[in-house]
């Protein structure tokens, strides 16, 4: 048998030796580090536990006990939260403590705890306790500590937003963590689903575009969106309201939260209930509540909504019904708010008739009769709501246009009187803006509504003005149908 070492190339031997020595150094290093880790890890863990306890006390000075941690999924920063109590028996709740970890380009593994308490609609910002200072050290660390100290002296959103402190990146990620914790507190503890996902679920994947969130006030309401079946916010699917509320759970002590979304469509006298999307539910799990939601979603209506669960799930079901009822009222009010703008068309407007969608309408989405008296005895004419989108055309119209108008038409069917235009919403991307171009067209037309002013579309936004002209023309053509049907 030949000795393989004798046959080996000297170069190979050299590199094998080098590799062997390097591996040996690495192995010894690994052993040393493992040994030190065994020695230090209990101390580091104990320190962290001590910091955590100190953190609870720094946030709520009178904390006596905390609940078991509740893991949060789907959130960016917050990993878990506890409920803090001022008594050992865990009956007197002080608020929540959120544990969040965040990083960005300049900050690594920043871990904080922050308290949030009070009413979910007006949460009280609590103190921040730093578990791991993730700044790069030096003055960044010092400046970040000053930022947290300033915030802790009077915790509020303004102090939180004052991130330009000499450690802007660290403060910014901390603000994001606190904001998320507050959002979670408001939504009952769990991270919410994105609104686009919710809209797709509610409208069976038909929602292709939406408005930005609009503010709406109420006990359970804060925001709503309008969803559309096209990509240009023209063909409306309905309004979707975010519902948030809390109530005492079936055990009689725990406060549980519910975050849900509900859709409405249709006109004032024929409001269509849309589907529900329950996003966050911290009530005790209940099959009957889930069945209630499923039954409602199968045939959304006021009747299925009223069929709240009787036994388990009663608390969540009752809360959900109250929230949807409030949303329905808000929806009708929103619709009426648009109708109320009829006074911009007919100065003596006092009341509006029921909304209808005229057959054959393309640009017109809704129409109603305007009256000069509350008893709806004296008709002023018709108000049409039209909404349209104009695609960008490279040479002449390089910007997209979206316009929503109210227009009045009155008088004889054979020769209807041109009524005024009121711009409800517009998105005209000309550099000069709407007011300097299409707005001038509207002003000129409203000064003397006639076929001449209607056709004078050369205003700097000819395409947009042309679109509005087409809306008015369609309204006039539909007027006869409506009037004839009356």
């Amino acid at each position: 048998m030949k000795d393989p070492a004798k046959k080996m190339n000297p170069e190979t031997q050299k590199y094998l030796k080098a590799a062997g020595i390097l591996c040996a150094i690495g192995a010894v290093s690994a052993l040393l580090i493992t040994g030190i880790n065994v020695l230090t890890s209990p101390l580091i863990a104990a320190q962290k536990a001590g910091k955590q306890l100190a953190a609870y006390q720094a946030i709520y000075s009178n904390v006596k006990a905390v609940s078991d941690p509740v893991a949060v999924t789907g959130s960016t920063y917050v990993k878990q939260y506890w409920t803090a109590f001022s008594d050992e028996g865990k009956t007197a709740e002080l608020g929540k403590i959120y544990d969040a970890i965040g990083s960005n380009g300049h900050v690594s593994g920043m871990e904080i705890m922050v308290g949030v308490s009070g009413n979910v609609d007006a949460p009280v910002y609590g103190k921040i306790s730093i578990i791991t200072n993730g700044t790069t050290g030096g003055s960044y660390s010092t400046n970040f500590l000053s930022y947290v100290s300033a915030y802790n002296s009077d915790p509020n959103s303004t102090a939180l937003a004052n991130v330009k402190c000499g450690a802007t990146q660290a403060a910014t990620v901390t603000k994001a963590m606190v904001d998320e914790a507050v959002g979670l507190y408001q939504s009952g503890g769990q991270a919410g689903t994105s609104i686009d996902t919710i809209l797709k679920s509610i409208f069976d994947d038909k929602a292709l575009s939406r408005t930005e969130s609009q503010d709406v006030s109420g006990t359970y309401l804060s925001k709503y969106w309008i969803a559309y079946s096209d990509e240009h916010t023209v063909d409306e699917l309905g309004y979707v309201y975010k519902l948030k509320g809390s109530a005492t759970d079936s055990d009689g002590t725990t406060t549980a939260g519910l975050t849900a979304y509900v859709a409405f469509s249709g006109f004032d006298t024929a409001v269509n209930y849309g589907k529900l999307y329950v996003d966050v539910n911290s009530f005790a799990t209940s099959a009957s509540f889930d069945s209630y939601v499923s039954a409602y979603n199968a045939t959304p209506s006021a009747i299925t909504l009223a069929a709240t669960p009787n036994a388990d799930g009663k608390e969540a079901g009752t809360l959900l019904k109250a929230m949807v009822d409030e949303a329905e009222k808000a929806y009708v009010a929103s619709r009426f708010a648009v109708k109320a703008k009829s006074d911009q068309i007919f100065a003596s407007f006092k009341a509006a008739g029921d909304s209808i969608l005229p057959s054959g309408a393309k640009l017109v989405k809704e129409a109603w009769t305007a009256y000069s008296d509350e008893s709806k005895a004296t008709e002023l004419g018709y108000v049409f709501l039209a909404r349209a989108y104009l695609e960008a055309e490279a040479e002449y119209n390089s910007v997209e246009t979206s316009v929503t108008l109210l227009m009045g038409v009155s008088g004889a069917v054979a020769n209807p009187t041109y009524g005024k235009i009121y711009v409800v919403a517009e998105s005209v991307g000309t550099p000069q803006g709407f007011d300097m171009t299409a707005g001038v067209y509207v002003t000129n037309y409203n000064a003397n509504p006639s076929s001449t002013t209607l056709e004078s579309v050369s205003c700097g936004s000819t395409y947009t003005a042309g679109l509005m002209r087409d809306m008015v023309k369609e309204a006039r053509s539909l007027y006869g149908t409506l009037k004839g049907g009356n």
Binding site: L22, I33, I36, L39, T40, I44, G138, S139, T142
Partner: protein, 256 residues
């Protein structure tokens, strides 16, 4: 022979402290020097940890210098340095957590500190264990001194006071850090916060470098002046001797 060895040991130790100070003379390791010198305690702590890493890595690399093949010198040195940095980091986190927090990422960055790797390649890999130990200790002390000097200026001018006990908690009195007010007191504040910011670090570093350069240049000028004076004196003496020569020759000639 013993005298020569003693002189070599002395040089190994002393050179890194002042004559070839890694920060002020070699201008190495400036990044942590500017970042962590906002407080005296942090700078001193960084200096101690740095010295520990430098001494240990120098000693081990020197001990293994004949064993490590040339091809894998740098990777082997980095493994050794990284090991000691990791050890220091874990010990610091466990026993001096405030220092660990204060130094932040700059403690981990010692792995790529050019002074540590530089001394390993330039000295430890070519010299004996004891000399490498002294070299590491000397350079460590030199770097610590430099950090401490910068931090003293920055903390005192930047915050108006010198605080002890924030990092080394055993220095606290009644559970509180102790502050010596210099430019800041109750109702008065002459501190310049800029010096606690990164820009302040550059300013202090630049000023100290300028002062050291001025001292160095002044010393060089003095040495040059002394050399010129010595050369002038020698030339004068030679001229005097030359002038005295003919007279002596005449006398000698006359005598003949």
């Amino acid at each position: 022979m013993d005298q020569l060895k003693r002189s070599q040991h002395h040089d190994s130790f002393v050179t890194g402290i002042i004559k070839e100070n890694p920060l002020f003379v070699a201008v190495l390791g400036t990044c942590p020097a500017l970042a962590i010198t906002t407080s005296f305690e942090a700078a001193f702590g960084m200096g101690l940890l740095f010295t520990f890493v430098l001494v240990c890595s120098n000693v081990l690399i020197s001990a293994l210098r004949k064993l490590i093949p040339e091809e894998v010198e740098t990777p082997a040195y980095i493994v050794v340095i990284a090991t000691f940095v990791t050890v220091v980091k874990m010990l610091c986190q466990a026993y001096i957590p405030n220092l660990y927090t204060s130094l932040g990422v700059f403690l981990s960055l010692l792995v790529v500190n050019c002074i540590v790797l530089g001394r390993a390649e330039a000295f430890a890999s070519k010299n004996g264990v004891f000399d490498s130990f002294l070299d590491g200790l000397g350079n460590g002390i030199g770097y610590t001194l430099a950090l401490v000097v910068i931090s003293l200026f920055r903390e005192i001018i930047g915050t108006g006071k010198l605080t002890f006990g924030n990092i080394f908690t055993f220095l606290q009195r009644d559970g509180r850090a102790v502050s010596l007010s210099v430019f800041k007191g109750e109702g008065w504040d002459y501190s310049i916060p800029l010096f606690a910011q990164p820009a302040g670090g550059f300013i202090v570093f630049g000023l100290i470098m300028a002062v050291l350069a001025a001292i160095h240049n002044s010393k060089k000028d003095k040495e040059a002046a002394a050399k010129r004076a010595a050369a002038f004196a020698a030339a004068q003496k030679a001229a005097e001797e030359k002038a005295a020569m003919p007279a002596a020759s005449k006398t000698e000639g006359g005598a003949r």
